[in-house]
Assembly symmetry: C2
Amino acid sequence: MMELTRKGEYAIRGIVYLAGKPIDKVCLLSDIAAAVDVPPTFLAKIFQQFSKIGLVKSFRGTGGGFLLGRAAENITLLEVVEAVEGPIIPNRCVVTPSDCERSDFCNVHPVWKRVQGEVRSVLEGVNLKELASKERSDINN
Amino acid sequence: MMELTRKGEYAIRGIVYLAGKPIDKVCLLSDIAAAVDVPPTFLAKIFQQFSKIGLVKSFRGTGGGFLLGRAAENITLLEVVEAVEGPIIPNRCVVTPSDCERSDFCNVHPVWKRVQGEVRSVLEGVNLKELASKERSDINN
DNA sequence: CCCCAAAAAGACTATTTATATCTTTTTAGG
DNA sequence: CCTAAAAAGATATAAATAGTCTTTTTGGGG
């Protein structure tokens, strides 16, 4: 359970690739897609979503392509994931405080809240600069 | 993302209900289903899974029904969730160490490992006795 | 031995979500 | 105005989710 979709995986690959390029290097979608091994048409959809919320900047026409919207160290993994997958919701009951009519008496509700907090916290603690660096920031595995 | 399915939600409701009953009280599936508001046929499938791995004991025929397989305090929420949803896998790449051919150079791999660890840890820290108690073990929300 | 109660097992269905692809439109440069 | 490239929208396929229905097995009681 709790599995990231392909879309999420592809989104991360694509934007991490961008983060590894010089800040002013405009990248073609087709090049990015080829480099990170994702279907170009699919990646296009993903980058459109990124573009709408400013995670990347896009330029159309000749010489067009994509740039990172902000400095890589100011974009967290959480933002990237939530941009394409939506909010981190381990269970419906945590969507809004009042949403779940069982939450008054249900002891598992606070557990899901805690799960949500932990996951968000881990993902928020990682930025694209770290992810794009050649150095392994962590022990493998 | 990372959402528990209905099946998982129903599974928890059902087994927490059992955990709230006297240890030797054999409960009818139909009663459990009605009490926790889940489709009886669906809950039947879920309890069959529980039964196979010993989370609950089942008795057939007249006077049959279900009991908790072990003391409620010895069953963690993690076991219950994994029983019906499978292992906690935030991304395919964490399934097996060698499974992901990107894991050599991919910095996000260890992040997913950390997410997995945190989620498992939270769920493992909660048992059915706590979940079934009338006292709120935690602040609401 | 027969009947009834209840869970187990298996087949089947419908809906939704995931995973794309294809076509057309817009924008920009040369 | 021609070409390059992204944006937008429509469509297609496959898989997972969320169930239902039917038949079988098991066990108790008369």
